[in-house]
């Protein structure tokens, strides 16, 4: 029996639309669930006061500081390294066995569970290099964790820049570096920013790798060698130890709002940049 095309067409719309709807529904449900439980906890005191009694009372100020500094340090290290690697692999090397191995390596690295990175960071930075549980150990560990994401997204973004732009640039007497700087990178920027945003998102939310390397001190850090606690670690500890469910949801809601704000501002910046060029 043959189903007429207009029926299969309707079926396709129903299935595809249904999938989209379901995805959106789950997303909205999660966000609303957390916000509903957490928003009523959030107020100025909660955001601006230090924790008391292990987080049972007081605010989450120091964990917000930790959640800002760690990803910043991670991206600050990973972005130049990752973008540099991606530019080198795409613009300065010919596709060969070696580049394939490097690419396969970064893909494998991207698939490693974060707790393994945590363990590595603990053994290498915390113990071997004697950095202790510190912002530096945590930031560097997170940097290695997000590095593959940044490399791959940057590579894809660079590859998407039309070949003809490079040819024109070369034909006008540009060197390879001038072409990279003036044509390739500006046009790949939206993709690169996306990669960096993914990296920030991953490192803000990361818990396992951070506990192992940055520790969970609730004191306000005074230097890069001090231990710190991020919001996600705080949430984990509050929930796991049963210290305060309310404050746990308050922390989670703050975390979600922070990630949303970061993403929104990145999109806004990117749109302004694109609008200026086309």
């Amino acid at each position: 029996m043959r189903v007429p095309p207009r029926h299969t067409q309707r079926l396709a719309i129903a299935v595809l639309g249904g999938a989209t709807l379901l995805t959106l529904a789950v997303l909205v449900f999660i966000i609303f669930f957390v916000l509903e439980k957490g928003l009523r906890i959030i107020n100025f005191d909660f955001l601006l006061l230090n924790s008391e009694d292990m987080g049972k009372a007081g605010g989450i100020f120091t964990t917000i500081v930790g959640s800002v500094i760690l990803p910043l340090l991670a991206i600050g290290v990973a972005a130049p390294l990752g973008i540099g690697t991606a530019v080198y692999l795409t613009e300065y090397t010919v596709e060969s066995k070696l580049t394939k191995i490097i690419r396969f390596g970064t893909d494998c690295l991207a698939g490693i569970p974060s707790i393994i990175f945590g363990l590595f960071g603990f053994i290498f930075f915390v113990t071997m290099l004697e950095m202790g549980w510190s912002i530096l150990s945590g930031g560097l560990t997170l940097a290695f964790m997000v590095l593959p994401t940044i490399i791959r997204t940057t590579e894809e973004a660079i590859k998407a820049v039309p070949k003809s732009y490079r040819q024109v640039s070369f034909s006008l007497g540009a060197t390879r570096w001038q072409t990279v700087k003036k044509v390739v990178l500006p046009n790949a920027l939206p993709g690169i920013v996306t990669g960096i945003m993914l990296g920030i998102g991953r490192s803000i939310g990361e818990t396992a790798a951070v506990i192992f390397t940055a520790g969970s001190s609730l004191r306000l850090p005074g230097s890069l060698f001090d231990s710190t606690r991020t919001m996600s670690v705080h949430f984990y500890i509050l929930a796991r130890e049963g210290i305060s469910t309310d404050n746990a949801y308050g922390t989670a809601a703050t975390l979600i709002i922070a990630v949303l704000l970061v993403n929104l501002s990145a999109y806004w910046m990117m749109n302004r940049f694109i609008a200026k060029r086309s």
């Binding site: 039309p162 732009y165 490079r166 040819q167 024109v168 070369f170 006008l172 007497g173 044509v183 086309s278």
Partner: protein, 251 residues
């Protein structure tokens, strides 16, 4: 007599396939050389050999000599960046870089180290004038080059090459995607420009070669079949293949 370009036994391979076979010719200054031939005859490869753009493709290999003002452009210490500044190129598809008209035109000069704003302004105006588009765009130089029509983008590309103040201009089927009016404007500009520049024009349109080229070269399967004054090539070709091609019997 020496030409601007003196090409001796140029043979080119791409991954072992022969694209050009022992091509020799002189390209005199201040003339338009039209290069015609069917698709796959090697005319674009020939053109791109002249500013060493072929080398950007892995697997390309060339033998023979190409002399520009008696200097071998394949010499090991020859500066290829400088070569491309002297020998500008306009591609088949108009490619405006995603930046303003002004920045498109000043791209080459800026690379060459010109920072002086007045000097850049002058160059932009002069080049756009020579490409017959100054009046069309003079009030919107900050508009993105991507917003221009195809014909305007191609003249932008021509102006961009002129802004480098090159000695030779290579054009690879510059009018293949353009309407007759835009084509007419480009041809007008080229006829005007040949007094100062050496121009090599690859075209699929034999009539275009007949209209504006001083000399015409006919390529077939990687070989230069015939080269001579345009009028003679189109009225009394010495080779039968040339005659067949220009009268439309094949190709």
């Amino acid at each position: 007599m020496n030409g601007k370009f003196d090409i001796q036994d140029l043979t080119a391979y791409w991954h072992g396939t022969m694209l050009l076979k022992q091509v020799s010719m002189r390209i005199p200054a201040s003339e338009i050389l039209g290069v015609i031939g069917p698709a796959g005859s090697g005319k674009t490869t020939f053109l791109r050999a002249l500013n060493r753009m072929n080398e950007l493709e892995p697997g390309y290999k060339a033998e023979g000599r190409i002399l520009l003002d008696t200097e071998d452009i394949h010499a090991p210490d020859y500066d290829v960046v400088n070569l491309r500044k002297r020998v500008g190129m306009v591609f088949a598809l108009p490619v405006a870089l995603p930046m303003s008209i002004y920045d498109n035109i000043s791209y080459g000069p800026r690379l060459a180290g010109i920072r002086n704003r007045t000097r850049l302004d002058e160059l932009v105006e002069k080049s756009l004038n020579a490409a017959f588009m100054w009046n069309e765009v003079k009030d919107r130089l900050s508009l993105s080059g991507l917003r221009l029509s195809g014909g305007q983008q191609q003249r932008l590309c021509l102006a961009r090459v002129l802004a480098m103040e090159p000695e030779v201009i290579l054009l690879d089927e510059p009018c293949s995607g353009l309407d007759p009016i835009s084509t007419g404007k480009i041809e007008e500009a080229l006829t005007d420009l040949k007094r100062q520049y050496t121009i090599v024009l690859v075209t699929n349109n034999t009539k275009q070669a007949a209209r504006i080229a001083d000399k015409t070269a006919f390529f077939l399967m990687g070989e230069l079949v015939e080269i001579g004054p345009t009028e003679r090539i189109f009225t009394a070709p010495t080779q039968k293949q040339t005659d067949d091609y220009i009268t439309g019997r094949f190709g």
